[in-house]
């Protein structure tokens, strides 16, 4: 990046950044700064009385709030399980649909379909599938010749979270697949040809060409999946509302409940600030570990 831009170019760059920057400041940076300010007040959604400055009280309370930590723990468990599985699965799917086979477009569409469907719709459909009389129980009954004991997946504290994880992986993998697919198509064919001449088998080609070439893509996929996983909310709100027995409670659900349902806007702002710092820290660590290679 060391070369200087001409004045004209600089202006062009500025012009291109401007719309994005405007939107970001309006809808991300400004609200966040406001949250930061509100987190030191007792602001309520609605109140007869004026808002007061209450110092660090919201933060002190946050560190004594069991539900926040339950949510945080669940968020981490979710990320630790879903991110690796989803990434590997997405890569596998991308490799399959990258083959020049007949009908591969149908597969591509099929894999990508869940992603373009709204999470709310997906959640409602899967709620029916997880019902004791639903598709999944019936299917298990059929393949075990009736030996499967019906499970009420979403009302059972052992099953509810894994059930939601499975659905989330299925829903999200298509998007990552698309990114991997783009990455795969960027790898020059020459590399594989050279490797073939050198007598490398498929496995060696995968380890020594595909994976290293996908490094930047993988970094992006890992970080974005992690952030998405930590933001877990829609499917939880619709399918379990945090239950049973808090087994699917997440930080964002806690945030929503505190800020909207219980009207504690000040407290919810404190949650946002702390959670933002946690997510930021995770992203930085991830970035340091999986340092992206940049061509300049």
């Amino acid at each position: 990046m060391a070369y200087a831009l001409s004045k004209k170019k600089k202006r062009a760059v500025l012009l291109f950044i401007l719309p994005g920057l405007c939107l970001l400041s309006m809808f991300m940076i400004l609200p966040f700064l406001m949250s930061f300010g509100l987190s030191f007040t007792n602001q309520r959604l609605l109140s007869r009385y004026a808002t007061e400055f209450i110092g660090w009280s919201n933060y002190e309370r946050l560190f004594r709030d069991d539900l926040f930590f339950t949510g945080l723990k669940n968020n981490f468990v979710f990320a630790l399980i879903v991110v690796p599985i989803q990434t590997v699965l997405a890569l596998g799917m991308a490799m399959v649909v990258n083959k020049h086979l007949k009908g591969v477009k149908i597969f591509r569409t099929a894999y990508f379909m869940p992603t373009v469907t709204t999470m709310v719709v997906v959640s409602v459909v899967w709620t029916f599938m997880y019902n004791p009389q639903g598709l999944i129980n019936n299917f298990m009954q059929a393949i075990t010749f009736g030996n499967w004991e019906t499970v009420d997946f979403l009302k059972n504290s052992q099953w509810a979270f894994p059930a939601i994880m499975l659905m989330s992986i299925w829903q999200g993998a298509g998007f990552q697949m698309l990114i991997f697919l783009a990455g795969l198509q960027e790898i020059p064919e020459i590399l594989y040809e050279a490797a073939t001449i050198d007598g490398a088998n498929k496995w060696r080609k995968f380890w020594n060409i595909t994976l290293p070439q996908l490094r930047n893509t993988t970094t992006f996929v890992l970080i974005s999946t992690t952030i998405l996983a930590l933001r877990l909310f829609d499917q939880i709100k619709i399918m379990t509302n945090g239950g049973p027995n808090d087994s699917t409670y997440t930080v964002i659900l806690h945030l929503y409940n505190s800020g909207f349902s219980k009207q504690r806007v000040g407290y919810a702002s404190a949650i946002t600030v702390v959670f933002f710092l946690i997510v930021l820290a995770i992203s930085i660590v991830q970035r340091l570990i999986l340092r992206e290679e940049r061509e300049v």
């Binding site: 019902n131 059972n156 349902s261 219980k262």
Partner: protein, 424 residues
């Protein structure tokens, strides 16, 4: 000079004519289709019958209606007139964004409204909200199944089933080959339904949602021994196989796989279509001791109602529309469409469903004798959220005492946080 005067006069007349029609915004939740159609029709007819007020009606989805209203209040973006779920009135009134309606109400109207409507709309001595209908909560039954199982069918509040009789009835109905789960608690829904539908169970057992003497704490009331007993009884319905924890729909009674449906007036029209003369309305059972706080038997009351916002520029125009839909004949149109209890005595008398001997007369008797209003306190949004959560968890089989303790803790925290919600 004369010319100028003439011109001025013209301008004045034109502006007066133009501004003669006052436009007001109205928000309502998009509930059941029949309700929506009646309201839309009322808006059209109201706009056509006079030139003073033009009502611009906007419907919002029900699921997050309360949140949307609150967000709009925060942004100073509320309409002139809006409908709200009865128990939220107190919070809205406390937060000062709906106004008292007393000054608009005639004595005649006040005396004609059902006491439950006044009760649910009154806070701090003033009436803030008025509904065109009240709700009714009881048990819909399949007469053929009840007869087949040899179960007595009670017809009035006083000869309702006792707890033992109720459990016995459930056991007998469960034994019928047609029946999968005898009782449907409408668990396909959650949220406000939990509080509306199941707090009467707690009240019948002698518990309550909050200490109604002070409205300062729920401790000892929502987590006392009576409450724990109520919670355990509810859970036992699932453990015994009487209630399906995860029904796929709300139609068990209608399709014949269930025998009883614990639900409100809104179920009537569909049930009547499905069961015809086999449909019977059964009073809420006597679950608790007769000498407990609510006499061992309770039902819900209160429904959606209307409030005028404090930031309305034309509150009187909003009142004119509200007064229009509160006419007995308009109330009747709504009541016939959704099966709800008409909110005025004069409308009740005209209603085929609710007059003496009508199919839904029992609701009026229940409202008169055993209806308990949901707590009238600005802390209600938190109370209902925590109670609903507790009910869902108890039905899932968590420790009842611990679950209720946590609900109490959250409710008390909220009240403390707001210094007990002082008025001024």
């Amino acid at each position: 000079m004369k010319k100028l005067f003439f011109l001025l006069l013209m301008v004045l007349t034109v502006t007066m004519v133009l501004s003669a029609t006052v436009e007001i915004d109205l928000w309502f939740h998009s509930g059941r289709g029949a309700e929506r159609n009646v309201l839309q029709d009322q808006v059209v007819r109201f706009n056509a019958m006079q030139d003073l007020v033009f009502v611009n009606a906007i419907q919002l989805p029900e699921g997050s209606y309360n949140e949307q209203v609150q967000a709009a209040a925060l942004a100073n973006d509320l309409p002139d007139l809006l409908d709200l779920d009865g128990p939220n009135m107190t919070n809205y009134a406390w937060a000062n964004f709906i106004m008292p309606l007393d000054k608009y109400m005639s004595v005649e109207l006040k005396n004609d409204l059902l006491p439950s409507i006044i009760k649910q709309g009154t806070y701090n001595g003033k009436i803030y909200a008025l509904g065109t209908f009240d709700s009714g909560l009881a048990i819909w039954g399949n007469k053929a199944y009840l007869k087949k199982a040899g179960v007595r069918i009670p017809t009035s509040v006083d000869d309702a089933w006792t707890k033992e009789e109720f459990m016995d009835a459930l056991a007998k109905l469960k034994a019928l080959p047609e029946v999968d789960y005898p009782l449907d608690l409408m668990l396909i829904e959650s949220g406000e339904w939990d509080t509306y539908g199941f707090s009467p169970i707690f009240q019948a057992f002698g518990a309550d949602l909050i200490n109604r003497e002070t409205y300062m704490t729920a401790d000892g009331v929502l987590n006392g021994p009576e409450a724990v007993e109520a919670g355990k009884w509810m859970r036992s319905l699932i453990e015994k196989g009487y209630v399906n924890r995860s029904p796929a729909n709300d139609a068990a009674l209608l399709d014949g796989t269930g025998a009883l449906a614990w639900t409100g007036h809104w179920y009537y029209n569909n049930a009547k279509d499905a069961l015809g003369d086999d449909l019977v309305l059964i009073p809420m059972p006597k679950l608790g001791d007769e000498d407990s706080k609510y006499g061992g038997q309770a039902t819900g009351m209160g429904s959606w109602c209307w409030g005028i916002t404090t930031n309305s520029d034309h509150p009187y125009a909003a009142w004119l529309f509200l007064r229009f839909i509160l006419r007995p004949e308009e109330i009747l149109l709504m009541s016939n469409a959704n099966g709800a209890v008409p909110s005025r005595f004069s409308a009740v008398a005209m209603s085929d469903l609710y007059k003496e001997g009508g199919a839904l007369e029992l609701y009026v008797e229940q409202a008169d004798k055993i209806a308990v209003e949901r707590p009238v306190t600005p802390a209600y949004p938190v109370i209902t959220l925590e109670f609903s959560r507790a009910i869902q968890e108890i039905l899932n089989g968590t420790d009842v005492q611990k679950t209720l303790d946590r609900a109490v803790e959250e409710i008390d925290w909220d009240i403390e946080d707001n210094n007990g919600y002082p008025m001024d």
